[in-house]
């Protein structure tokens, strides 16, 4: 069971299924970055009419940052369709985020032509998927000694301890077992003692209790002789603190980097978002916690427009049902404050809504009967978290004890005799492979269902009324049958993307405007350019317009939205 999650052999992965030319993959394991590339290439090769595979650019260490576009190009170029953007593993150690992206890509392609709603979705909308943003650290998660606590950030050297040296004191695999685990030293004046419920576990002593251990943190030595251990490991530029809205310098937001979007990885993502104004919703996948987070990300962030909150709330509640146990939360009140993160950047700079999805939950490791109470403490978001001894029972009964490395003596050059052991890295922030398929499918389908709510517009000429001679009153309507408006309230209010254009051609336009009440015939006429009305269409609603025109032939009425695509209809004035 060693290196359980590290499945380097893609041969076992991309077996072609019996169904003709349709690749299938094992979704009960994790793919390293080479395998990720192969999965993407396999999908693209199998579905060339549905996919386009592009490298957005090179990472800090020179790896490709792959982006897969999925849509039926025969029904229109992806840039003309409403689109959903999803990326994963901007924190390189949060590896299953990549699998959610890969699974979604595979699912969409595999079910195209089989599942009607998926087929309709890819005919009218597009997905932009970046399975791994932090390709360097995720690659190293598989190739280097493994730790759940290393590899979150960009591979950019940073002087974490402000001593003038860069990354000079990193955790290390002292015992050479390929894992970077915990160290403890026996110490009657320490802070922890052995858990009487499970001898593998240490718990903090309470007043009156005798300590047995001092916890020393991750495996490592004091490399630079400054009296600290592991205080300046690789990185630390946290790319999900480097996005360029409400970005704050590192003394305010740890790990934000020298300036916004400093790592190449996030810069290419930001440029991609800017260059694709058809993106109407975003997901960034992380672990852990089982959460769908939205902004505001901090108290100093601007509020989300109430109209957009309604959409967020509706989608978020559906997400909670789609993925049982997950919670939809406002980031800074439900979790903690951050500055410069992805979803707020999307919402405040581009005006589309976005979630940060936190995959996996501590409760995945619950070991409880139907009527057992949660064992964790109350009062925090971790209240449902199982105690460590409960997690050990899970480990014993469902993983035959493989999740935990027994404490083993080790002669440390500075601490003397210590013990090394603890939870294996993959058992902390990720799940064993057998738990993956359900998690991947539910979260992927939440994305797919969300994409189904992207604006879906049609246009019709409701009536043409002759007012005498060649004078006509033309009424047209755009209907949006989906759950999202064509433009978010924030996009409209702050002009973050162009407004939708309701236009008429083929006749001389004398007047025009948006119909305020189509029963009473109230029209808000515009003084200028009436043939080119700037507007938007609400969710599951309609936008009516009216023109007074002079003409006698064919007119073309068109509704063109940056995030809804363009539709048009013709009518005859006769």
């Amino acid at each position: 069971m060693k290196r359980h999650v590290i499945m380097l052999l893609l041969i076992a992965v991309a077996s072609l299924a019996a169904a003709a030319d349709k690749p299938s993959f094992h979704w009960d394991r994790y793919y390293d970055q080479d395998a990720v590339t192969e999965v993407l290439e396999t999908i693209h090769d199998a579905y060339p009419d549905l996919t386009e595979l592009t490298s957005l650019g090179k990472s800090v260490e020179g790896r490709d940052i792959w982006q897969l576009t999925i849509t039926n190009e025969k029904t229109g170029d992806h840039t003309t369709k409403p689109a959903l953007y999803a990326d994963g593993a901007i924190h390189g150690n949060e590896i299953q985020a990549t699998e959610v992206c890969l699974y979604t890509a595979w699912l969409l392609c595999d079910r195209y032509g089989e599942w009607d709603r998926v087929t309709e979705l890819l005919d009218r909308a597009a997905f932009y998927i970046v399975p791994t943003v932090n390709v360097d650290s995720r690659a190293r998660y598989f190739s280097d000694p493994q730790s759940h606590n290393i590899g979150r950030t960009a591979r950019m050297p940073v002087d974490d301890d402000h001593d003038g040296l860069l990354d000079e004191d990193a955790p290390a695999d002292l015992d050479g077992d390929g894992l970077i685990l915990q160290m403890r030293v026996r110490d009657p004046h320490g802070t922890h003692r052995t858990d009487p419920d499970d001898p593998r576990t240490v718990i903090r002593v309470k007043p009156g209790e005798q300590a047995e251990w001092t916890l020393l943190g991750l495996e490592g030595v004091d490399d630079d002789g400054d009296g600290q251990v592991n205080e300046d490991g690789p990185g630390y530029v946290d790319m999900n603190r480097s996005f360029a809205f409400n970005w704050q310098p590192p003394y305010v937001q740890s790990g934000s980097g020298n300036f916004p979007l400093e790592p190449a990885n996030t810069r290419v993502v930001a440029d991609f978002l800017r260059d694709h104004p058809n993106i109407g919703f975003g997901f960034a996948w992380h672990n852990t916690g089982g959460m769908f987070l939205r902004g505001p990300s901090s108290e100093s962030s601007p509020p989300v427009d109430p109209a957009d909150v309604e959409v967020y709330d509706w989608l978020g509640k559906e997400g909670e049902r789609t993925v049982p146990g997950y919670r939809y939360l406002v980031a800074h009140t439900g979790l903690y404050a951050t500055y410069g993160d992805f979803d707020e950047f999307c919402y405040q700079v581009f005006g589309f809504l976005a979630y940060t999805g936190e995959l996996s939950m501590s409760t995945d490791y619950a070991y409880r009967g139907r009527n057992d109470e949660p064992s964790g403490p109350d009062g925090t978001i971790w209240s449902r978290r199982p105690t460590l001894s409960e997690k050990q029972q899970f480990n014993d009964h469902l993983m035959a004890g493989e999740m935990f490395q027994e404490w083993t003596p080790f002669q440390h050059p500075q601490y003397g005799e210590v013990e090394i052991g603890g939870w294996k890295p993959w058992a902390v922030r990720t799940n064993p492979g057998w738990m993956l398929p359900d998690m991947l499918h539910r979260n992927a389908m939440f994305m797919v269902w969300t994409a189904m709510q992207l604006p879906d517009v049609s246009v019709e000429v409701v009536s043409t009324e002759n007012l005498g001679d060649d004078l006509w009153r033309v009424r047209a309507r755009c209907v949006n049958t989906a759950g999202m408006p064509t433009l978010s309230a924030n996009a409209r209010r702050r002009q973050l993307v162009r407004r939708d254009l309701f236009t008429i051609e083929g006749a001389e336009v004398l007047s025009g405007g948006v119909v305020l009440n189509h029963w009473l015939g109230n029209v808000e006429t515009v003084a200028n350019r009436p043939e080119r009305l700037e507007t938007w269409t609400p969710a599951q609603g309609a936008r009516d317009v009216e023109w007074i025109v002079r003409g006698d032939g064919k007119v073309t009425v068109r509704y063109d939205g940056a995030r809804s695509g363009a539709v048009q209809v013709e009518a005859r004035l006769q």
Binding site: D163, G164, P250, Y251, F259, S298, R499, R529
Partner: protein
């Protein structure tokens, strides 16, 4: 013996006299001419020209590097950023001339003791606009902006209706307008109570090209680089960029700066000034202020989540945990949502005030203290505020010209002989008066035009850029006269030195070693702000040739005060005192070493 600055002033005047035939007095050099001058300078010893990036319009960002006279590869260095506003040819010219003066300075001149990085035109697209015909206000780059979010870019630019080559104001007759003209022809906000009813709508000179009922609402786009830096960036503006650092010019500058840790000071030549008036410091946080500790921090400090505590008690608790959790006071304040800082640290006001006094003294000594309108302080997203608050080095923001105020000005005169900024109508009045009395230009008389729809409008008013860029001959002398002050800036920089090692024999090979690290400059290293944001890297001191008994051989000094010293002592085991060697180093200051010692 005159001060060096005085001697150099004399020399500068002489240099100017020699250059008089080549220096254009009647027009500003454009981008092409500046590039040529930089290339000429790059042929001189110690100079090297770099292309640090490209503008949005694909023009080169040319940076001239000038090495110190002693050939040292070490810091400190001064970065000169000029004309991030784009439409300030005076600033670009001054930076270029500064580079020439640095290269021509005498051997014993402070200017030759440091490395200089000079970027005379930080927004070459913007500089081009200052020479465009017709010429409009604003030195924006070539990034396309859809200002009115209608899906079109640049579809309604201004138009030169009166054919004078300038885009000025346009007062469109409108009964609902909120502007009026005084009997003197000055535009003012309408004030019916003072018999000034609204008669005009103020627009920029031009047509409604796209027929949307608005005038010039979507010009050729562009972003002002001076608003695109990350400190206190203001989102959702037409001219500041979509996000901080999104413009290629800004990104190139940021990347250059962080790739050159020897930069110990940034001089920003532009429209703003941080020497005229020293900014107010950040107020001390009220230690008794009650704060709610976020649950994550509360858990770390052992506090009750959601409960209120005094700020001081939280800071004290964090101090207890500091070594483990890296919880600096600034970080704690950030977690309590009391950051970021937007006013200088109180501890930095000493050197800031001294620098300001030095500046005013220079103006007084050189006859440059004539009353002028006060330049604005660096604003949100400006390079100068970024340099201090985020890059962590002293930031010297200097404008080169503002409108002269009349000697008998009724405006309030401050102690530094400048006058407070007037309301816009006063500035307009000064421009108009100056044009009419001295012929310096800056104001266009109103002329009547008829718009295509028959509407009558008045075109005229302030010329674009008139409040910061006069005719070349009127400002060049003043700007050049300021150069000696800038050439003396290296004298202010922190300088690292080590006293001779002191050793004390404690018997059996045990030695107490004492090293004193000095900062011989007039600025601390780093600034107080630098200690908050932990940039630039601190001075580290390493003792070699000994076995430590207690303290690590490599130590960090968080700050070395200006003109001060920090003393470190080690108890070590050493074979010979002569083997001992202490090295002090910092990327911005270089490295110094002292060997041996009297045992």
């Amino acid at each position: 013996m005159p001060r060096i600055a005085d001697r150099r002033f004399v020399a500068t005047v002489a240099v100017l006299a020699a250059l008089a035939s080549t220096a254009p007095a009647q027009s500003w050099p454009d981008g092409k001419e500046l590039a040529g001058r930089l290339q000429d300078l790059a042929r001189l010893d110690r100079a090297e020209l770099h292309e640090i990036g490209r503008s949005a319009g694909d023009q080169k960002l040319r940076l001239l590097e000038i090495a110190p006279r002693d050939g040292s590869e070490q810091g400190p260095a001064i970065l000169v950023l000029a004309n991030t506003e784009g439409d300030l040819p005076l600033a670009s010219l001054a930076a270029t001339e500064l580079a020439a003066e640095i290269l021509a300075a005498p051997d014993d001149d402070p200017a030759g003791t440091v490395r200089w990085y000079v970027l005379p035109s930080a927004s070459p697209d913007g500089l081009d606009r200052a020479f465009a015909r017709p010429r409009a206000a604003g030195g924006f780059n070539a990034t396309a902006v859809d200002e009115d979010a209608d899906g079109l870019e640049g579809e309604d630019p201004p138009d030169d209706l009166d054919g004078d080559g300038l885009i000025t104001w346009m007062l469109v007759e409108d009964p609902a307008g909120t502007w009026a003209l005084t009997s003197d022809g000055l535009p003012v906000n309408a004030d019916p109570a003072r018999d000034l009813p609204g008669r005009y709508r103020r627009e920029i000179e031009g047509h409604d090209d796209d027929g949307d009922g608005r005038y010039n609402e979507d010009p050729a786009g562009g972003v002002e680089i001076a608003r695109n830096f990350p400190h206190a960036f203001k989102p959702w503006t037409d001219r500041g960029g979509r996000w901080p650092g999104d413009q290629p010019e800004t990104r190139a500058i940021l990347e250059w700066c962080f790739a050159h840790p020897d930069i110990a000071m940034i001089l920003v030549l532009g429209e703003s000034n941080w020497l005229n008036t020293v900014p107010e410091p950040a107020p001390d946080p009220d230690p008794d202020k009650l704060v709610t500790v976020p649950w994550r921090l509360a858990r770390e400090l052992g506090f009750e989540p959601g409960a209120e505590y005094s700020l001081q008690s939280v800071l004290d608790a964090a101090d207890d945990h500091g070594a483990r959790a890296n919880l600096t006071p600034a970080r704690v304040r950030a977690l309590l949502h009391l950051e970021p800082l937007t006013a200088p640290q109180k501890g930095d006001l000493g050197w800031w005030s001294a620098l300001s006094e030095g500046y005013h003294g220079f103006l007084d000594d050189h006859g440059l203290a004539d009353p002028r309108l006060e330049a604005r302080s660096p604003g949100r997203g400006s390079p100068a505020s970024w340099a201090y608050f985020q890059f962590g080095v002293p930031s010297v923001a200097l404008d080169l010209w503002t409108l002269p105020a009349p000697a008998d000005s009724s405006a309030e005169t401050t102690a530094d002989s400048t006058v407070t900024a007037p309301a816009p109508d006063r500035e307009l009045a000064l421009l108009k008066e100056r044009t009419e009395t001295s012929g310096h230009g800056g104001w266009r008389a109103w002329s009547s035009v008829t718009l295509p729809d028959g509407t009558v409008a008045m075109v005229g008013g302030p010329e674009p850029g008139a409040r910061h860029t006069p005719a070349a001959y009127a400002a060049e002398t003043r700007a050049r006269a300021l150069l000696p002050f800038l050439l003396d800036l290296p004298d202010w920089l922190p300088r690292l030195s080590l006293d001779a090692l002191r050793t004390e024999d404690r018997g059996e090979g045990v030695v107490a070693v004492t090293a004193t690290v000095r900062n011989d400059g007039r600025l601390p290293y780093p600034t107080d702000m630098g200690t908050v944001n932990r940039r630039p890297a601190p001075v580290t001191v390493t003792l070699d040739g000994a076995e430590p008994l207690q303290d690590p051989l490599r130590r960090v000094i968080p700050q070395v005060p200006a003109g001060g010293a920090v003393t470190l002592t080690w108890l070590v085991r050493a074979q010979k005192a002569d083997d001992l060697e202490v090295t002090a180093t910092a990327p911005s200051l270089g490295t110094v070493t002292v060997k041996g010692g009297q045992r």
